[in-house]
């Protein structure tokens, strides 16, 4: 055990590890060389027709502060990029985007920063609605309108306007679509692949689904929960397909995990049923368009809600009205619709779909 052998050993080990790093560097290459990957041209807008009004006309320059959780999955990534794209359309809007974070303390300090800067409005998708309620109330008290997106605050005084998706409505839309397709067959087997079961949003989606199915005399025969990941979706589905040898329709809550769900279905070689997705990712919509899989439809949970938040924040800051409403002032709550995308209308939704 002399110093010399130790040194020699160190050198061998260092060589081995250096070699392995070099191997990785040469064998594995990055995503950068392709243009396709950077061109995530999400224009954010739903491509809907605009009402004829002077709302889009430039007004006094305003500063909007924007904060959202870390973009750790496709949908959340699209939230921020759609908001940025929306703000880009208005020359009177300067958007200050805080770095996405899943740490509520950091997010609170970001909002405090916006208050100190005296921004004209704040668009906030809180990591946890209850945890951000206090600081949002503080902003409102300082005279800065807060637009709450997706995850609701626990106090009505914390936001001027709230933009929400419709989780219950997603379940209803999926259930109604399946009813339309299977309605005349009360014995049809319906399966459900949920996301993380402990989340309120999953419970809302499942409740809406069950309620809509019961309207046409159907119920959920087999239900599994995955975890919003590709791998979790694959594992849950592989077991589900064994549990139910004959299925007529499946609703999968989430298109991110849907990649794994589809893979499990392909691995099992099953195609006697049709599947409805959830959230509305671009690759699911492409499957629907191509008709090359069991995917027949998906239900949208808009990834453009924060973009809507930006638009509303601008209207509030400029003290304008929503041009398609007779009443004055921007509404307190806007709950977005969860439409069903099928082959017939997929072209309308594909441009605003997110990349999973």
């Amino acid at each position: 055990m002399s110093a010399r052998t130790t040194l020699r050993r160190r050198i061998t080990l260092a060589t081995v590890s250096a070699a392995s790093v070099a191997l990785i560097a040469t064998a594995c290459t990055s995503n950068t060389p392709t243009a396709e990957n950077t061109a995530d041209g999400n224009d954010g807008g739903g491509g809907s027709s605009q009402a004829v009004s002077d709302n889009d006309a430039p007004g006094d320059p305003i500063v909007i502060g924007f904060s959202a959780p870390a973009a750790d999955h496709g949908w959340m990534g699209a939230i921020t990029s759609a908001a940025e794209a929306e703000a880009e359309k208005y020359e009177d809007v300067e958007l200050r985007v805080a770095d996405g974070t899943n740490d509520v303390n950091v997010q609170i300090s970001q909002i405090e920063g916006f208050i100190n800067d005296g921004v004209d409005a704040i668009v906030l998708l809180p990591f946890d609605g209850a945890a951000l309620t206090d600081v949002a109330t503080k902003a409102m008290e300082a005279g800065i309108p807060v637009i709450n997106v997706d995850r609701e605050f626990s106090s009505p005084f914390a936001a001027r306007t709230t933009v929400l998706g419709d989780n219950y409505g997603m379940g209803v839309s999926a259930g109604q679509y399946i009813c339309e397709q299977l309605g005349d067959n009360p014995d049809a087997v319906v399966a459900e692949i949920a996301g993380i079961d402990s989340l309120p949003l999953t419970q809302d989606r499942s409740q809406g689904f069950a309620d809509a199915l019961s309207d046409c005399g159907l119920d959920v025969d087999n239900r599994v929960a995955a975890d919003f990941t590709v791998q979790g979706g694959e594992a849950a589905t592989a077991n589900l397909l064994q549990a139910a040898p004959q299925i007529d329709a499946i609703w999968n809550h989430d298109d991110d995990q849907g990649v794994g769900v589809l893979s499990a279905i392909e691995n099992a070689g099953r195609d006697e049923f049709f599947m409805v997705g959830g959230a509305g990712s671009a690759n699911v919509m492409e499957h629907i368009k191509a008709g090359d899989s069991v995917l027949q439809a998906t239900v949208i949970y808009p990834s453009t809600q924060a973009a809507d938040g930006i638009k509303l924040a601008r209207l509030v800051a400029h003290e304008k009205n929503m041009s398609d409403l007779a009443s004055s002032g921007v509404p307190r709550t806007v709950q977005l619709f969860a439409p069903v995308v099928t082959k017939d209308n997929v072209d309308q939704y594909l441009p605003s779909a997110f990349q999973s």
């Binding site: 050993r9 160190r10 080990l13 081995v16 590890s17 392995s20 790093v21 191997l23 990785i24 064998a27 594995c28 290459t29 990055s30 995503n31 950068t32 060389p33 392709t34 396709e36 990957n37 973009a71 750790d72 999955h73 496709g74 959340m76 990534g77 079961d197 402990s198 025969d221 087999n222 239900r223 599994v224 929960a225 975890d227 919003f228 990941t229 590709v230 791998q231 979790g232 979706g233 694959e234 594992a235 849950a236 592989a238 077991n239 589900l240 397909l241 064994q242 549990a243 040898p245 991110d256 990649v259 794994g260 893979s263 499990a264 392909e266 691995n267 099992a268 690759n283 990349q355 999973s356």
Partner: protein, 346 residues
Amino acid sequence: MSEQQVSASVPTNKPDADESARVEKAASERRKSGFMSGAAGRNVGLVVALLLLCVVGFATGGERFLSLSNLMTILSLGSVLGVVAIGMTFVITTGGIDLSVGSVLGLASVWATTLATQSYGWVVMVICALAVGVGAGLLNGLIIAYGRVVAFIATLAMLVAARGLAELIAQKRTQIVDVPAFNDVFKGNILGVPKIVWIFAIVAVLGWFLFNRTTFGRRTVAVGGNAEAARLAGIKVKRHLVYVYALSGLTAGIAGVMILARTSAGSSTNGLLLELDVIAAVVVGGTLLAGGRGTIVGTVLGVLIFTTLTNVFIINNIDSSVQQIAKGAIIVGAVLLQQRLTRRTT
């Protein structure tokens, strides 16, 4: 290792001339105290538990449970977990822990599926996944052995960092495998058995051989039983630890390739929380968390128990919250049952 253990088992006589004899001796220090005599009893307990599960599965699910295709589903689902668990068995036997396996698996699956890596074809994809695994494992091992950082902390750091790097590379997107040759090689069946189950079988057999029939395996047991005694017996403990963590990284890399074969997609969320299932399976299998005792057969049985359990629950359409409670109960139950049987046979 505690001070008492060190002083109790320091070999007093002259070391044997032949190195493998010395290693054998250090390893047997621990094995005398129950490894050989207890192993059979433990595995019988696991087999009984697995059979009980199958009886419950058949009673409640009938042919849906007992069909050949369901058996293959259980084996396929156990394969990814199983391969990682083989590597983990070595690590835990040395008295260490590798919390980073799930993240390293995710990183391997992501790096192997970047558009540029995919453009080089399936061989490079596989080499890339394995290299990422081995590289991460080597780094773990070097930090633990030469940096003298506790394994729990070093691999916890890797868990966080590898996941972050995977997110950065994938830009939080799901990367679909678009190489037909990759799917041809890894998807589908050989002799009616899915290819990834074959991979698991090969890794398990190689792992068993390495653990039970080679000096490497003996050294692993010796290091975990008593690192100081092992060092005095002439085992290069630090270097051995590096190899063991590299092996664990390698199995995570292999599992990364298997995930790609299963899901056709590289994602930074692949392998999320996998480390917990892997450690649970290894410990239920009978490998001692304190080190010095390990069993590959037990690990394979532990993995099968967990995947069969999930399958039986889903066949019966049982609420996922109930599943979690039952899983916890079964972990405790299996370990208690093992201890019973071990005591009786020794």
